[in-house]
Symmetry: C2
Subunit: 355 residues, 2 copies
Amino acid sequence: MKIAVLPGDGIGTEIVAEAVKVLNALALPLEMETALVGGVAYDAHGHPLPEATLKLAKEADAVLFGAVGDWKYDKLERQFRPEQAILGLRKNLGLFANFRPAICYEQLVGASSLKPELIAGLDILIIRELTGDIYFGQPRGRRIATDGHFPGAEEAFDTMRYSRPEIERIAHVAFQAARKRSKRVTSVDKNNVLETSQLWKDVMVEVGQQYPDVELDHMLVDNAAMQLVKAPKKFDVLVTGNMFGDILSDEASMLTGSIGMLPSASLNSSNQGLYEPSHGSAPDIAGKGIANPLATILSAAMMLRFSLNQEAAALRIEAAVKKVLEQGFRTADIYSEGTTRASTKEMGDAVVKAL
Amino acid sequence: MKIAVLPGDGIGTEIVAEAVKVLNALALPLEMETALVGGVAYDAHGHPLPEATLKLAKEADAVLFGAVGDWKYDKLERQFRPEQAILGLRKNLGLFANFRPAICYEQLVGASSLKPELIAGLDILIIRELTGDIYFGQPRGRRIATDGHFPGAEEAFDTMRYSRPEIERIAHVAFQAARKRSKRVTSVDKNNVLETSQLWKDVMVEVGQQYPDVELDHMLVDNAAMQLVKAPKKFDVLVTGNMFGDILSDEASMLTGSIGMLPSASLNSSNQGLYEPSHGSAPDIAGKGIANPLATILSAAMMLRFSLNQEAAALRIEAAVKKVLEQGFRTADIYSEGTTRASTKEMGDAVVKAL
Ligand SMILES: CC(C)[C@H](C(=O)O)[C@@H](O)C(=O)O
Ligand SMILES: CC(C)[C@H](C(=O)O)[C@@H](O)C(=O)O
């Protein structure tokens, strides 16, 4: 089982080191190889996703990814900015199915912005399409407008698009995931305005007919953004396109109050996957040894489950994480009075011990 | 001063009646004419925005709008659905500047999903561009894909676009609004992915140089969706495009917990405007006389201020609304123990009395 380890920028190195430590403690035949990605790769090789890194990722069964990005690259042309690495990996590996759980851990209810009764027990699975939509749609660019409000003026444009099979395959992913949970799918779109959303909704309905045991409902994206705040626990599996999924999954993860705990998986049709924490590279706390490694450790668990077929090992990690929370260990982001403050490394060590 | 009164569907009739009552109580020379819009207009004339209604709106100084929409029109072709009326009015009247305050009223802090300390005193002004972006961008439709993941498959597509002058004018609106407040503007985009957003950001920076007294910062839309949950009070004026504004303004208004209190204004370059509550037509409670009319009454106040140049009258209404809240009147949506439950009509009467 080959794993490409791409720590990236900011806290990436620190949190990935702990996840690797946990993986090593499992004594499985895992072959891990590390490569540069993001800003550090740009610094070293002039590109955020160097050829060698992409090759390593493609040949691996799974990619364990830290985080990319730093203010200092903001001035670069877009194609050289760190986040292009993650877009490039998604595109080149065909990682169309993004799983982002928004879970509120019992012990961390207090960390949420929301009142405890609204958030306790929250367990949403957001499934975001990840290789289509306005993220990758062509044509896009700048030109002189020939119509619209100001013909003759400079304009910029992008293309939102989804084809029927692209929607079908993510729909199947959502319905199948729902079968393993509470058998409810909420599909989010903006069909009252967008052609793309109307096709999205039509195809969801069609595919839904193959899953008569799963209840499907539809919600407009603006309403979904509201309902997540108002009554997040009403959601179970939420499936949506790349752009809306970007916004809603971040909103949902912040609702839990402990985004430092939330893993993610991005899969292609052969279950090759990229696993990364839901949070970013946090350059402001990089190098201080205080970042929370649990989202990355839990991402490693998802990797064992989805790409490496090691369900037992995944469960072991997840149980260990629960245990360290019960034991009271907390990194700075989730610290509260009466708990034990742990550094990044101490948290990783505690998980290994709890295995 | 001519006002087109368009109550629309669902609770629209009930809430607009109360706002009209309040306007009448001001004894100003207001000429009000009512017309059908939305589903009721479709039922009567086969179109959600009949010619006569559009003409009335165009010739008025301002439009007082209730709400449109009902499940029973969901099956219609998109062009006949109620919400097309609001899109048609925005487009035909050129209402490019949408003002959506997200305010948390002192007495209603408890109604929010958020913890009181995060939300008390919240006062954000979201300025959303309203006639451009993917809402109106051509081309759009369905076709057979010639490239992408599945060439040959049916696909749907939409065009996101903004021209430089479209961004400039909304930027000026935002900076000028900020001058009257705390002199801070947060511009929200997705420049790490979208060409349109990159131009948006570039133009915001350029226009910002004409307002050296206003502080400008930029935030990615996914991060904005998170920060609104995490620390909403950090925002003051938030300016963004039509699509992101749709999502973020709804998220922000739900954060306050009292979306039934929040007005909105949509203006064109001659200060002609459409004024409507931030909430929808709520068909489930229509006809019961329990809807909250305050958002519509406060929208009427915005109308007096922005389109009719009657600042004193606007302030009178706003003070009256504060007063009825202090007096303890509450419609069902904001009711809590120890307050006085009021029907839609009783709430309107209370405001009139408090004038
Ligand atoms: C870094 C950025 C391009 C990316 C996205 O928008 O998809 C990120 O926000 C995410 O959600 O993984
Ligand atoms: C009804 C719909 C078309 C509209 C929009 O998306 O703009 C609504 O959600 C709004 O925000 O006013």
